[in-house]
């Protein structure tokens, strides 16, 4: 099949599209050993090189990987960063989260549209540019933000947007715009040239001084069971949101007899308002790998994966450099630190724009080259995970904590925080406050205390834990950040009294509609209905009964959804109904004459008018006058 025939596509647009030589596709597939489990890498490479995944490409990839075309298409059509129509040589993705909207996104989008001569959602006819919206890219503390190909631009202003557009039009690459010396910079310097860390408060565990590999060295002197006992005794719970006891998770995986075990790091960080893992990946990448290596020793894994969200591609070189350095120093690979039989290595799996891939089953599916759909539970990942083998999946922050616990001891960690919530936690603070950024504190802080520190005393509402978390009002600011009171994977979004709560809720519902994987009925369909219902409230077309409708429908979605996305997607509505009831009641009107306010006779008869090719004698104004 490796002939040099250009791609004859039948369904693409009329403009000339770059021809895609079959041999190049074959060679990309070969780079990944024609392994179907590397489908996401294959398709990402095709997208990067040829800017789209044509029907012909899908056929070639399918035949190389022994799959059917429809299976390849299933993957290609699932991820936002893969495209089945040709994209521009430069794709600009503007974060359109509510934080960015409040920070002036509209003017920035307009500036790009004017300069580039295309609207958001379009590709220029000569294929220079594509302009798109994308959900939160993890730069909430420096919004408005955008991705320009693999480069991140933050703190955008309309002027800065114009400058970028003009430089790009003049033929500069995004990297050159960041720095004339981009290629000479270290990966770390490249990352920090694009994105600020904004570390506002360093705590004792993660952001303060951290010795190199001290935890790993302790681990070498311990048995796997001792390591896991120590992690369990420390009280460490998962930092990705669900809060499962880490020591127990490792023990479950270790107890499973299998030929292989895997350790996976969840660096998908997709929950809007969360950016803590971005900073850890930038400033503590060695600590993360150290934690994963300790986990590998505990559960007997020889292989691992860091699943890095597509939006953080600017950190890929940095992580690869860390891995290479550790291999060179005997901290990864065979016989780690000279210990015979202690072998562990890992690879980076890039995501491609799908929030659901942060759900651990979907993350595993994605690593296996499948669409990012959650897996049926049971079996759980610790029993049968990646490729069917027992797998530990932990968040970036969780692994970092684990490494520190091995160094400083379980008691040290246990003594910080509160009963049931031990140690410190990273909080990603953004929105209407003076000092957005990253804060590390022991669990147990109240919202008031945090607001005081971040300069957010004017807050009228705080979204704790992102859209899937809880929106609280002033009367709850005494509540504490713990697993038992206000649990959060790290997001704290501050909203002042000027913000429209329903606008926030409507945005969050559109986010869930965009990010639902579509596998199960309630989440796929029900969230669309919720979004439409909130739209009614926003337009002032809701009836009092619609409040019950929202609660009722939310209840069904929560009770019947297949994974955590659907089980939490109604939270923006339910928590604001509870904590901001007036916002809703102010928008409802009892119906007049039993007719629903949403019923519009003009649009209802419009179809008939077109079919009959005449107007209505009763309802058309010029006839009834």
């Amino acid at each position: 099949m490796a002939t040099n025939t250009p791609d004859e596509q039948m369904t693409g647009p009329a403009v000339s599209v770059p021809s895609i030589p079959v041999e190049e596709i074959v060679s990309i597939c070969q780079t990944y050993g024609n392994d179907r489990h590397r489908m996401l890498d294959i398709l990402r490479d095709v997208q990067d090189r040829f800017r789209w995944i044509s029907p012909k490409v899908m056929e070639t990839v399918a035949s190389q990987t022994c799959l059917s075309r429809i299976e390849v298409e299933g993957v290609a059509s699932f991820y936002s960063f893969l495209s089945q129509t040709p994209k521009g040589r430069v794709t600009i993705r503007l974060c359109d989260d509510i934080i960015d909207r409040f920070a002036g996104l509209a003017a920035i989008a307009e500036a790009f549209e004017e300069e580039l001569g295309i609207k958001v959602g379009e590709t220029s006819p000569d294929e220079s540019f594509s302009l798109e919206y994308t959900p939160c890219i993890g730069m909430c503390d420096q919004a408005p933000a955008a991705m320009v190909n693999d480069v991140v631009v933050t703190k955008l202003t309309p002027d800065l947007a114009r400058q970028w557009a003009q430089s790009l039009k003049a033929g500069k690459s995004p990297e050159e715009i960041v720095s004339d010396r981009f290629a000479d910079l270290s990966p770390h310097a490249r990352a920090t040239a694009q994105v600020d860390n904004n570390i506002r408060h360093a705590g004792a565990v993660l952001l303060g001084p951290v010795p190199d590999d001290a935890g790993l060295k302790t681990a070498l002197g311990l048995t796997p069971v001792q390591i896991m006992d120590m992690i369990e005794a420390s009280g460490l719970r998962g930092c990705g949101g669900a809060g499962f006891t880490t020591g127990r998770k490792w023990k479950f995986a270790a107890a499973e007899k299998a030929e292989k075990h895997f350790v996976l790091c969840n660096a998908d960080e997709g929950e809007p308002g969360t950016f803590k893992d971005r900073v850890l990946l930038t400033e503590r990448p060695h600590l993360l790998v150290e934690g994963m290596t300790i986990a590998a020793r505990a559960v007997g894994a020889r292989e691992g994966i860091i699943y890095l969200r597509g939006e953080y591609v600017y950190l890929r070189d940095l992580i690869e450099e860390v891995l290479a350095d550790r291999r060179a120093r005997g901290l990864l690979g065979e016989a780690i630190l000279g210990v015979e039989g202690f072998d562990f290595d890992l690879r980076v799996q890039m995501g491609a724009g799908a929030y659901i891939c942060g759900e651990e089953g979907a993350l595993i599916s994605s690593c296996e080259g499948l669409p990012g759909e959650p897996k049926t539970r049971p079996p759980f990942p610790v029993n049968r995970g990646y490729l069917g083998y027992p797998t530990v999946v932990n968040n970036v922050e969780t692994f970092c904590h684990a490494a520190r616990i091995l160094d400083r001891g379980a008691q040290w960690f246990f003594d910080m925080g509160e009963e049931g919530s031990h140690g410190t936690k990273l909080f990603s603070v953004s929105g209407d406050c003076l000092n957005p950024g990253l804060y590390e504190f022991p669990y147990g802080l109240t919202i008031n205390e945090l607001l005081e520190m971040v300069g957010g005393e004017d807050a009228a509402a705080v979204q704790v834990g992102g859209p899937s978390g809880t929106m609280i009002a002033r009367d709850s600011f005494h509540r504490r950040l713990t697993f038992d009171d206000l649990a959060t994977g790290g997001a704290i979004i501050v909203f002042s009294g000027e913000r429209n709560v329903l606008e926030i809720v409507e945005y969050y519902m559109s986010f869930f509609v965009h990010e639902s994987c579509g596998y199960c009925t309630p989440c796929r369909v029900g969230n669309v209905f919720l979004q439409k219902a909130i739209g009614k409230f926003r337009k002032g077309l809701a009836n009092p009964e619609d409040i019950d409708y929202l609660k009722d429908l939310s209840g069904t979605i929560i009770e019947t959804s297949r994974c955590g996305l659907g089980m939490t997607s109604p939270n923006p509505i339910l928590t604001t109904l509870k904590n901001f009831p007036l916002v809703y009641s102010a928008m409802v009107k009892p119906s007049k004459d039993g007719i629903r306010a949403t019923f519009d006779i003009q649009s209802a008869i419009d179809g008939a008018r077109h079919l009959a090719k005449r107007r209505s004698y009763i309802y058309d104004e010029d006839f009834s006058k």
Binding site: E73, S77, G518, V525, F529, E559, T560
Partner: protein, 239 residues
């Protein structure tokens, strides 16, 4: 019953399950019907429609994928659970385009039959999404009309696992996820009217239509003219 068998209850009825059986499989054997749309005998479980939602020890789970566990108390036919199921069935109606009176599948359709069983009598409160989906009539013997598709994936699993072909697959994400064929259209796949995937029993609604055999069964003799959906399973128990 062997030593390894598991016993539990569904709505107070004692059920025996073999190790590894799901709640639904055990219920079927015992003649207790749990409503379902995406699950189908002889096909892998999918757990997508969620119509089989039950409460096991108070927690909602999909009966088609949840393993039976010893001693657990399962609730199936409660007003609350049936209300959840009715919501789900309504969602499926509103997601596609359904006009039962003129539909080939009417009377043999599992979605319609489920609506009857769950007493979906009143007008629903959900909005209609009215998608626009093209009819694929390219194939000589089969037409594919996904306007009525409920994304159950039965055709996908039947074609792949039973026929060994892979004519169908999912594409897209979220509300845009839909069933598509392995080629430009159905005529460009290796679909054949004799495939199991194309048989009457696989598509629960009226998407996969064999040409020239429409409206073959007279009213009164259609599958669900004989009884409410689930009557065969429930018949086992009545003896």
């Amino acid at each position: 019953m062997t030593d390894q068998d598991i016993t539990f209850t569904i709505d107070g009825v004692a059920i025996t399950a073999k190790p590894g059986q799901t709640i639904m499989e055990a219920a079927d054997d015992a003649g207790v019907y749990i409503p379902r749309l995406c699950d189908h005998e002889g096909l892998r479980h999918q757990g997508g429609c969620r119509v089989c939602t039950v409460k096991a020890n108070g927690r909602s789970v999909a009966a088609c994928t949840q393993p039976a566990a010893p001693g657990q108390t399962v609730e199936n036919e409660t007003p609350h659970i049936n209300k959840l199921r009715r919501d789900l069935v309504e969602m499926l109606f509103h997601e596609g385009n359904h006009l039962c009176p003129i539909c080939e599948a009417s009377g043999n359709c599992e979605l319609q039959a489920m609506a009857y069983r769950l007493e979906m009598g009143e007008p629903t409160k959900f909005p209609y999404l009215e998608p626009s989906r093209a009819l694929d009539a390219s194939h000589h013997d089969i037409a594919l009309d996904t306007n009525r598709c409920i994304s159950c994936g039965r055709c996908i699993r039947a074609s792949k696992d039973v026929d060994g072909k892979g004519v169908f697959g999912y594409v897209g994400r979220g509300i845009h996820r839909r069933v598509a064929v392995n080629g430009e259209d159905l005529a460009h796949t290796d679909a054949d009217a004799s495939d199991h995937a194309m048989s009457d029993e696989v598509c629960p609604v009226g998407c996969i239509i064999r040409k020239r055999v429409g409206f073959a069964t007279p009213i009164g003799e259609r599958e669900f003219d004989k009884g409410l959906i689930g009557y065969e399973i429930e018949g086992k128990r009545r003896g």
